[in-house]
């Protein structure tokens, strides 16, 4: 059982020599044991490998980042456009499309594709994010050409057979039933609608049972035609591969992928008016805990204050020692973990803080989270606290680059948002440059209390009345009355089921 919610991987730092101190002899007794921790030597510096970029004649962008050492390579094909492209009544279409790629392609059946890629030691993973769809695999270097061959087949020539669509729909609906039975997962889904409203980021990216059931083969084919094309794609290769090898491998597997004449589809607007109550309580009778989620709208990825937001989030809830976990777990024992993240997307963004707590503690946790959001804009962060949280942020950024898969993900994030790839090496200086004054200003601008969106999912009999007392506008909804297909989350016909108390 982990003490913390996550195990974090280690950082990549530039090699430095240890400063050897004089050899010590073993101490004879406890009395000789130092009462204070030994001071560290000089701090090492982070070094980040440089991405190389090329573009094939058909418009496919090829990015490679070399890390020799172990014979491993991660290959990711990333397409602009993901869940944001789902049509209004077809939530989950982009994700289902990505999932179906490997379920029959280029004359191979789904079992044949699985057997082929797994014989190479990898597995194809495909999913849609909000702004991108991606399919990828990690294999040992000698298996890379074959793995890329399979990657190209599933991305370029998927069958989308009726039988596989039906199977994928049934599985997706059961997946949804599983994830919606988790209080924080359901609360996070609801708060997305609350923040993004009718915008393209507001719906359930993995769909709803009803929307998944509505999807037809034509819908899948149409989305595939629109997004899966070379002039909309980025091939990322990280690990034991040179730029020259990357270029040739890409040419071999994707060079004859024809660019269609049709223009690329326009990108939708991410955020629009919301019809969800600012404080929504969802009764999941019998829930073992309450999931508390508090969210705010945030600027998009390319906002000039992006790094201020990243550092502000590090202070608020980005790690174990950040404020939310300090107040909720460490000081009060109210949760196994409280955290926040800043999701900066192409056209808008969201701050999302979450904690699970025993049902009767939900009202207290709501107030603590709201209080910490407010605090960020009303009092300046101290220099010590800021330095510590920046160090944590930089350390975990280094961690994320240590594996080939992590490196591919970071590079993909930059590429999909059109950020210059050299930024991968400038993260540290950008983080270090953020000042307490900037954070205060940022929080005052983006995190004012009026913009808070709260969703609590749990056994409402144990917290509904208390939250309603503190927030008379809070609305209680039975989980059975929740309509994930409605932009208000409440079916108009069943308005009588809504009880405010």
């Amino acid at each position: 059982m982990s003490r913390h919610v996550k195990v974090i991987r280690l950082a990549v730092f530039m090699a430095m020599l240890m400063t050897a101190v004089g050899a010590s002899t073993a101490m004879a007794s406890a009395a000789d044991f130092p009462a204070t921790p030994p001071a560290p030597g000089p701090a090492p510096k982070l070094s980040v490998p440089t991405p190389s970029t090329q573009t094939l004649a058909n418009g496919l962008q090829v990015i490679s980042v070399r890390r020799a050492g172990l014979p491993l390579v991660t290959a990711q094909l990333v397409l602009h456009g993901g869940g944001e492209m789902d049509p209004p009544q077809l939530a989950g279409l982009a994700d289902l499309t990505a999932n179906l790629l490997s379920k029959g392609a280029a004359g191979k059946t789904a079992p044949q594709i699985a057997a082929a890629v797994e014989a190479l030691g990898g597995s194809l993973s495909a999913a849609a994010g909000w702004d991108q769809s991606a399919v990828g695999v990690t294999v040992t270097t000698p298996k890379l050409p074959q793995a890329l061959g399979l990657l190209a087949e599933v991305a370029r020539q998927p069958d989308f057979s009726a039988a596989e669509l039906k199977r994928a729909q049934a599985q997706a609906i059961d997946d949804l039933r599983l994830s919606l039975s988790r209080p924080t997962a359901l609360a996070s889904l609801a708060v997305g609608r609350s923040v993004f409203g009718d915008g393209a980021y507001g719906h359930s990216r993995s769909g709803t049972p009803a929307s998944i059931a509505r999807i037809r083969r034509n819908d899948v084919q149409h989305l595939h035609d629109a997004l899966y094309r070379p002039d909309n794609a980025i091939l990322i290769l990280t690990g034991d591969v040179t730029p020259e090898q990357a270029q040739q491998l890409a040419q071999n597997s994707f060079g004859d992928w024809r660019k269609p004449a049709a223009p690329l589809p326009p990108r939708p607007v991410g955020m629009a008016a919301s019809h969800v109550p600012a404080i929504l309580l969802i009764d999941q009778h019998g829930a073992g805990q309450a999931g508390v989620v508090v969210a705010h709208a945030a600027p998009p990825r390319n906002d000039a204050d992006y790094y201020v937001g990243i550092v502000a989030n590090a202070v608020l809830g980005g790690s174990y020692s950040a404020r939310l976990n300090e107040e909720i777990r460490i000081k009060r024992g109210l949760s196994y973990g409280a955290s926040s993240r800043l999701q900066a997307l192409g056209d808008a963004g969201m701050w999302l803080a979450a904690a699970q707590t025993k049902n009767p503690s939900a009202p207290q946790v709501v107030e603590l989270v709201l209080g910490e959001f407010k605090q960020l804009g009303s009092a300046r962060v101290s220099a010590d606290e800021l330095a510590a949280r920046k160090a944590t942020l930089i350390g975990s950024y280094g961690n994320s680059l240590e594996t080939t898969a992590g490196l591919a993900e970071q590079v993909g994030e930059l590429a999909i948002h059109g950020v210059k790839l050299e930024q991968i090496g400038k993260y540290i200086e950008q983080v270090q440059a953020v000042t307490p004054k900037q954070i205060e200003k940022y929080a005052a601008k983006h995190l004012d209390a009026d913009g808070s969106k709260v969703v609590v999912v749990g056994d409402a009999a144990q917290f509904g009345a208390a939250i309603h007392q503190a927030h008379p506008h809070a609305v209680l909804l039975e989980s059975s009355a929740l309509d994930l297909d409605s932009t208000s989350l409440q079916p108009a016909a069943a308005a009588s089921k809504i009880i405010a108390r």
């Binding site: 059982m1 010590s24 009462a35 797994e118 009060r332 025993k358």
Partner: protein, 464 residues
Amino acid sequence: MTMRLRPTALLASLALFAVTALSPPLAAAELSIPSIQYHQRTLPNGLQVLSVENHDSPTVSVQMWYHVGSKDDPQGRSGFAHLFEHLMFKSTKHMHAEQFDRLTEDVGGSNNASTGDDVTNYFEIVPSNYLQTLLWAEAERLSNLNVDEKNFKSERAVVEEEYRQSVLANPYGKLFNAIDPHSYTVHPYQRPTIGSIEDLEAASLQNVIDFHNTFYRPDNATLIVSGDFDPKQLDAWVDQYFGWIPKPATAVPQVAAQEPVRKRDMRYTVTSETAPLPAVAITWLIPPAADSADSIPLQVAAALLSQGDSSRLYQSLVYRHQVAQQVGADADGRVGPGLFIAYAILASGHAPAAAEKLLHEEIIWLATQPIPATELDKVKTQLLTSELKQRQTAQGIAFALGQASLIDGNPEHVNTDLAALQNVSENDVHRVLQKYVIGAHSVTIDYLPQAATSASAAGKGAAK
């Protein structure tokens, strides 16, 4: 099973195809996976020290593994070893509560810990200029733990929330938490690592002091250091900070219970108010992980059954028959008797019996019918690749060493299991499955959704 520290993947140095990446088809050649060159020594007070030098990154992973786990929970105190793990981050004689976070997170590192049935491990990754600091801090909490009542109670509340999160609020938490209690009749493995709210509430500060005195001692611990360090400097610092800690005169208590061979098949039912779909889990007893002649073929059998979409259980239950939403098989090797586990979460409209029948059919088929060589090669390549992924980080290498040393019984397993995996044959898979699974008795757990109230699940009333 879900949260517990899991066995690391088996190692393999398989014959692969050469790195001539640009001229397919590839020429056949050896791709050798370098063995982990670790250094081992034992201090006079019994502390085992394992180290692996690697200067690719100037970071260092420091891990303390203790031979104590939930099997050592005091009587009536299930979950205590895990609660204790949390308390090791509270105050010591020379450190205030959470100072470990100041020495790790605040300087760009990280820390965590986990408790299993057999071991408790504490692990940090820090910029390598903090190695000396962390060695001091680990020695400090081994020798000078000093938790107060306030921190004890507040951290116990955190652990109770962890219980609620992993067992009560996770729709399948109650199922996985029920596996050990129903699978063992005598051995203390029958206690779930997370314990129960009642037993956690019964724990006292005196229990903490006694537990530390009993199990947290140099001759019951292994220090693992992996990454960027100077070996001579490391030895000197280890001697300096750990060498003085006395070895108690008393012996470390050992679990003596012997789990008897099962005499008949057993069946239990567990219900859940929140699980949307039923599930079924079946377990069999397997020998200790140290018995690698059997435990490695069992790992291969589990991988044949459940690793990836091309695996036998996925193809049968999820793909062809579509009776299951998720399937899994695991050879959960432990210091004592372990478990071979197969499970399925049902697809909508199907009952556990349908999945149970197919699980048995696939296992019997695997245990008795020829296994294509390509399929055996496939799982070996899968296991090798996941091992390589783990070895990308100093921390991953340290975990592999800890597993080999404390669970598998000897650090050398980190390298020898490579060859052993490569040599696993169809006969080996048949032999172990026939001996421990189809030729032995099972425990079956049906997991059934059950509405929380008398109202039907579909038509819950709005008002309460």
